[in-house]
Symmetry: C2
DNA sequence: GGTGCATAATTGACGTATCAGCTACCCGGA
DNA sequence: TCCGGGTAGCTGATACGTCAATTATGCACC
């Protein structure tokens, strides 16, 4: 037994699998973000925020709820909303009933930006990701992702 | 047939698969990077550069070769090397034979930083990624990643 | 009705990523 | 020799992400 699986040392296969997985998924993420930026002029973060707001009742959300919805820390969201507000994609209003709070509201301009970007974005997802995989591979990718997601969530608790 | 697969519209399953895949792989990447930073005081980019240099003959590489090896644009590498040089992890020397060129050289301090970070990093890879998956899932993850990598490479040409 | 702790959100500092533009140098040919 | 296009690398501007610290408000309790 020359390759007993230890607690620390990684086998060649494990290391190779890890590397191709992390490098490729990172490349995919960066390529998608670049497409969104060059084709529609918004970042992946902008898209995420615009999408959540567009689906919210009244097209507005408390900052905290928005942060939970997109899975970001508040600080990150606050910086991001600041940049989006400067570009007119959203505006901020004081929250009714809790003077500590703030609500992010989707502007018409933000709604238009989301509409313009959606078709190109879906097209890129199909071209870069869905078209590459067979139905079996897509199902396997989903299974792996769901397993990893649950594993990571369990560790963070 | 209510769910004929079009060129643009995504089915619910396709969209869900995409979302869990991209969100989870991004979470994994960020979690790993955070571990490396907090446990060893270096970024994922630092680790990548240190690893390539440590494996190079003479522990030195031309900037262009290093950029190719890690898959970065030259500008990104240049900024990164500047920060690493300021911290003493590498130094830069003029390339012999081509006065345009620069070589990045691993310092002793850089070598030590890589050594200190390797075991915790491997441990994190095992804990966050390898431990989550069955052997079949790991093989499937690798297959998906290799397929995607080849697909993306073909598109970029 | 004040004290003290928790919560909501923002801010500043710093490292990281991308883009466009710049300098310096190489080399082949008029 | 010098002209010109290509190569190597750096820089500045701007956006993004994380951390620690800060401000302002809510609220329970005495």
């Amino acid at each position: 037994m020359s390759q007993r699986r230890g607690r620390t040392a990684l086998t060649r296969t494990e290391l190779d699998s890890w590397r191709v997985f992390v490098e490729t998924t990172d490349d995919l993420r960066a390529t998608l973000a670049g497409r969104l930026q060059s084709e529609s002029g918004i970042s992946a973060g902008d898209y995420r925020v615009l999408l959540e707001l567009s689906e919210a009742p009244g097209r507005r959300l408390r900052s905290s709820h928005l942060a939970d919805a997109v899975g970001w820390e508040r600080s990150r969201l606050s910086h991001h909303l600041g940049r989006m507000e400067k570009r007119g994609l959203i505006r901020r209003e004081a929250a009714a009933g809790d003077n500590r709070g703030a609500e992010a509201v989707l502007t018409d301009e933000g709604r238009d930006a989301l509409r313009r970007s959606s078709v190109p974005h879906f097209h890129a997802i199909r071209e870069l990701f869905l078209d590459a995989l067979t139905p079996d591979q897509l199902a396997a990718a989903r299974d792996v992702a769901e397993t990893l997601r649950d594993h990571l969530a369990a560790l963070e608790r």
